[in-house]
């Protein structure tokens, strides 16, 4: 029986931890979709951009060095970087600034447009960010180390003979802290309540005197923060490079499953997808040739959707005429 298999539990835990990593990315999507109905195609690129910026500050890279070299300036680094914590704060600052720019330049002129138009605008945004990120920081792989523990956890290894990466445990802890603080923020602060009001009804929110612009700015900033965290976690694993932006594809089935509007949905969806795809790949994968994770995640989400078309935690769709 499979549950007697010692690997069953390990794959289960690995799946859960991977699921947390997916959920981290999905969270960014959910925040923006909930507050503004925008399916933010640029979320993956946002994570890449955040991670690139962080590494840039950390290692003291000169932005646009490659572009400057056209004019005969051949330096690539300032000589010294910032300590990690300062770099993190600066990167966050950049994300907040970026959020403001996005709201002012892209979203403000597109208020009240249909979802597909806004979706398209975020595609344009993704192009721009990808280009700017690469141009600013270069397209080579960058090592990202912010001092998180790495390697298998000795304690768990000794106790259970399982290899659980400390990095992933930290990711899980960070994710939990993030979700809890987001929840507290939206429940107990004035701004959080305003956010929820916007999510429920744009007009109503406006009529009580909350500026939609401000709300959007905050949402995109928070989503930038989430992107930074996701970028750090994924980047620590694989180095920071273009492929980092493709993690968005891993978040989509999570969104489908959890619903585009639910923060707990993103977490639970991430866990289900993580565990589901890992179990399938581990036990069924070898029988049919392997590399099933990509499509299986979507198939799993699709199956759920056939029974709950609005996702696990999505608001129920009521059809009326």
């Amino acid at each position: 029986m499979f549950f007697l298999d010692p690997f069953f539990y390990e794959i289960l835990i690995s799946g859960l931890l991977a699921g947390v990593m997916y959920a981290l990315v999905a969270l960014g999507f959910v925040l923006i979709f909930k507050a503004s109905g925008i399916f933010n195609f640029a979320q993956g690129v946002l994570a890449l951009f955040a991670a690139l910026t962080l590494v840039g500050f950390q290692t003291g890279q000169i932005p646009f060095a490659h572009l400057l070299s056209l004019f005969g300036l051949h330096a690539t680094h300032w000589g010294a970087g910032f300590p990690t914590i300062v770099a993190l704060l600066f990167s966050l600052g950049v994300m907040v600034l970026l959020a403001w720019l996005i709201v002012q330049i892209v979203l403000k002129p597109l208020v009240n447009q249909e979802g597909i138009i806004l979706f398209m605008a975020t595609i344009g945004l993704a192009y721009v960010l990808e280009g700017v990120g690469d141009l600013m920081w270069g397209a080579n792989v960058k090592e990202l180390n912010i001092g998180l523990p790495e390697g298998p956890s000795e304690i768990i290894l000794d106790a259970t003979d399982m290899f659980i990466d400390k990095l992933e445990i930290s990711a899980a802890i960070v994710a939990i802290v993030l979700v809890v603080s987001l929840t507290l923020f939206s429940q107990y602060t004035k701004m959080g309540r305003a956010l929820r009001a916007v999510a429920d009804d744009h007009q109503a929110a406006l009529s009580v005197g909350i500026s939609l612009e401000t709300i959007w700015w905050i949402v995109w900033s928070v989503s930038g923060l989430v992107a930074l965290v996701a970028g750090v976690m994924w980047g620590a694993k694989s180095g920071v490079q273009f492929s980092l932006s493709l993690i968005a594809l891993k978040a989509l089935p999570v969104l489908m499953l959890g619903g585009f509007t639910s923060i707990p949905g993103a977490i639970v969806g991430g866990l289900i997808i993580g565990v589901g795809e890992k179990l399938f790949e581990f036990y069924i994968g070898p029988l049919i040739g392997g590399a099933t994770e990509n499509w299986f995640a979507y198939m799993l989400a699709l199956l759920f959707l056939l029974f709950r078309p609005q996702g696990l935690f999505g608001e129920k769709i009521i059809e009326r005429v």
Binding site: I11, A18, H74, D134, N140, G239, S243, L246, E281, G290
Partner: protein
């Protein structure tokens, strides 16, 4: 419609109407953007710097400078086609597309256009059969050679036999990654090891289940045909499950500094097959430093000099330069055509003495291309990563593949291709 015609007119104006120059025109189909940029950048820099050095130091080859035209493909076949078509008209002598997909696409096309392709250790392996693939060259070695050499190294580590052992192949789930499977299967029949296939989908950031599979199956060795971010993740995952790194051997595209650095100290001892010696202590490097870098003409950001892929780019360029020289010698002309370039490639012979003259003393294996064998000698060495000094070093000599097995496979695949496309060999 208006926009379309406008764009097309402009495209034509700048794209295809540039007259063929008297220089040796070599297109460089590079990828400095997209998911594989980290691998494409050093390679392209290496090629560019070497060619610039030849132009600066020798004024080109046989008095004719080389005109390198770089064209960005982003590792994308469609854009590779555009690059091919836009440079073809400018008298391109040879193509090295740096992508398995583009190579496959170009093989019939370039053959029909009488332009040679040099896919250096990538592309279609059976193109080593020069009799069928008259215009395609893949020396100094093919993937099947690499697979065989890697297995050989494993056998050496095990004292000569892999009987009853288990070897896992972790591969990029694409045409490139699937290349070594047949060879490894054949070899497993011969040497009695069990082969375990573990595909990883592009891009490959999540490989937890793959490496759990490794833990469960407990292979004695893991070999990897990875590319891009997949390499970095695989190496960190392998380290995380404490797989002995000296029993983890990658192909030459999973062998760069980029692949091991993100994993930090844990990657110490990782092995990969190499085409050339790492490091910069060679005459050619000194010349590049003197004529190109010190002159302020370094390609790209100039930060890739000395990396494995940069050296490989140099090596690729050196082959091209030497092939032009050979073609000039055969045809007795300074200006050569793509057809002559093909002859030059087909008669390319570089022994160690010649390598030393060229500034590559003890750098790589000898080259001996013949009409029948476009795969050169098919030699490779094993290199190992030292994480503390952050350097690669060769730990074996350049050794040959198991020719019996590899040649039979090449023969079979080439003759299938020949039958499909009605090719009767051009050598006899």
């Amino acid at each position: 419609m208006k926009k379309f015609t406008l764009a097309a007119v402009a495209a034509a104006l700048v794209g295809s109407m540039v007259p063929a120059s008297a220089d040796h025109t070599i297109p460089l189909l590079s990828y400095r953007t997209g998911p594989y940029a980290p691998n494409g950048i050093p390679y392209a820099d290496g090629v560019t710097d070497y060619i610039n050095m030849i132009n600066a130091r020798d004024g080109g080859v046989g008095g004719v400078p080389i005109n390198l035209i770089e064209c960005e493909t982003g590792y994308n076949t469609e854009r590779g086609v555009e690059c091919y078509e836009s440079t073809k008209g400018q008298g391109a002598l040879v193509y090295f597309p740096l992508s398995t997909g583009i190579t496959y696409q170009l093989i019939p096309k370039a053959t029909a256009d009488d332009i040679p392709i040099h896919s250096m250790g990538y592309g279609r392996t059976s193109a080593a059969d020069g009799n069928t693939f008259s215009h395609v060259f893949n020396f100094p070695g093919t993937y099947w050679d690499a697979a065989s050499i890697i297995i050989k190294h494993m056998m050496d580590m095990e004292g000569g036999s892999l009987e009853g052992k288990k070897v896992a192949l972790v591969y990029h789930n694409s045409a490139y990654g699937k290349e070594p499977i047949r060879t490894l299967e054949e070899l497993s029949k011969k040497h009695g090891y069990e082969l375990l296939l573990l595909p990883v989908d592009h891009p490959g950031q999540e490989q937890k289940s793959t490496w759990l599979q490794v833990r469960k199956e407990k292979p004695d060795f893991v070999t990897m045909w990875g590319w891009g971010v997949m390499n970095q993740v695989a190496i960190s995952e392998a380290a995380s499950i404490r797989f002995p790194m000296d029993r983890f051997i990658g192909v030459w595209w999973s062998a760069s500094e980029n692949d091991v650095l993100p994993a930090g100290d844990k990657s110490d001892g990782y092995k990969a097959i190499a085409m050339n010696r790492p490091g910069t202590d060679f005459g050619a490097y000194r010349d590049i430093q003197k004529h190109v870098i010190d002159a302020g003409n370094a390609a790209g950001a100039g930060d890739q000099v000395g990396t494995i892929l940069y050296s490989r780019g140099m090596l690729n360029a050196a082959y091209m330069v030497e092939a032009i020289r050979t073609a000039q010698k055969i045809h007795g002309a300074a200006d050569i055509t793509p057809g002559m370039m093909r002859d030059g490639l087909e008669n390319l012979k570089i022994d160690q003495a010649r390598w030393t003259e060229m500034g590559f003393d003890n750098f790589t294996s000898t080259i001996d291309v013949t009409c029948e064998n476009h795969g050169g000698p098919g030699l490779g060495a094993i290199q190992q990563w030292d994480a503390s000094s952050k350097t690669w070093s060769l730990i074996t000599d350049f050794v040959g593949a198991d020719r019996d097995v590899v040649d039979a496979l090449i023969e079979a695949d080439a003759s299938a291709y020949a039958a499909e496309n009605n090719i009767s060999g051009h050598c006899k």
